[in-house]
């Protein structure tokens, strides 16, 4: 799985994080290292969709939090992905 928006949402589902913390977290749980351009492309799109929002901070490192709509979207996407994974595994076993 390498969709940066799903990776960012999955990372933020575990708690608020700033860009660098997201990069580290994603690399840890997905084994994917997002470049700064890819990460901020995803952050920009997710914020425009209202699926994440910035958290008040005085630090230059801006933390983000996942919104209710973001959780819902992530849940739908992962459920859909889960169905694909289960089907694929079942078919592999039966092959």
């Amino acid at each position: 799985m390498s969709d940066p928006t799903l990776l960012v949402l999955s990372s933020l589902a575990g708690g608020d994080k700033h860009g660098y913390a997201m990069m580290e977290d994603i690399e840890r749980f997905a084994g994917v290292r997002l470049g700064p351009g890819t990460l901020y492309g995803a952050i920009t799109r997710l914020e425009q969709r209202g699926w994440i929002r910035p958290v008040n901070s005085k630090d230059r490192r801006q933390p983000y939090t996942i919104t209710g709509a973001g959780r819902e979207h992530l849940h739908d996407q992962l459920a859909s992905l889960g169905r694909v994974v289960r089907t694929g595994l079942r078919r592999l076993e039966n092959a």
Binding site: G35, R61, Q62
Partner: protein
């Protein structure tokens, strides 16, 4: 590497930099960056530009870029100049019609004549290093045009009017060779018919062309503009569909 990535980050739209610039800079500060990251930022900036630009701006920018590239290409191509001369041939009496048989072939398009001109004036030096003389002669033939602009008729006493043109990358050489071609045409007639029945008159001497005839820079720019416009429309369409489908 951080310095390069910061420089590349200036390619992001100003509105984006205003909103995310500080935190992006903090991320760059914290991260150990690689060359791959600088390309990642470059690609990210490009995509962000595409999403923030509107349909018209993308189309217009591509059209202008296409026109500029085509214009630059047209300036990079070697120019060709066309020297022209007008020749009027009048028969001595009404009974004489037309020029001696094969006069043009013998005096202008003759391979020996052209070979001697090529060697005497060192014409087509680059082509001669790459191709045999026969091929270069054919090229020279294609650069010569003899056009009848006023055919003989009973009304004008059988007078023929021609334009003789020669095209070459050097305008002075184009004029000089055109003069030679004209001279050879007249002399060729005298040799063929010592008691010549024709009077040759040159109302317009071979011109020294001021502007190149090729490449046609206006046409190049117009084609570039049109191609850029098409590419811009396609790109704007792709950007629009991507922004509406991408999460």
């Amino acid at each position: 590497m951080k310095r390069i990535v910061r420089l590349v980050a200036w390619l992001y739209p100003s509105s984006w930099r205003k909103r995310y610039g500080t935190e992006f800079d903090a991320l760059v500060e914290d991260t150990t960056l690689t060359v791959r990251d600088s390309f990642d930022v470059f690609w990210g900036a490009l995509k962000m530009q595409m999403t923030t630009w509107n349909f018209g701006r993308i189309t217009l920018s591509c059209a202008v870029a296409g026109m500029l590239v085509a214009a630059a290409v047209s300036f990079a191509l070697p120019a060709h100049y066309l020297s022209q001369a007008t020749l009027i041939v009048t028969p001595a009496d009404e009974s004489t019609r037309g020029l001696p048989n094969n006069l043009m072939e013998r005096s202008i398009f003759n391979r020996e004549v052209l070979a001697s001109l090529i060697q005497a004036h060192n014409l087509y030096p680059r082509e001669r290093t790459r191709a045999p003389l026969d091929v270069v002669i054919d090229k020279m033939k294609s650069n010569i045009q003899v056009v009848s602009i006023l055919p003989a008729s009973p009304g004008n006493g059988g007078t023929l009017t021609f334009t003789i043109r020669f095209e070459y990358p050097d305008r002075y050489v184009a004029q000089q060779i055109n003069e030679e071609l004209l001279t050879r045409l007249i002399e060729g007639n005298l040799h063929a018919q010592p008691d010549s029945h024709w009077t040759f008159y040159v109302p317009t001497n071979p011109s020294l062309p001021a502007w190149p005839v090729a490449p046609n820079r206006t046409r190049f720019a117009a084609v570039g503009l049109f191609a850029g416009l098409l590419a811009g429309l396609t790109l704007a369409g792709v950007a629009k569909s991507r922004s509406s489908t991408t999460v």
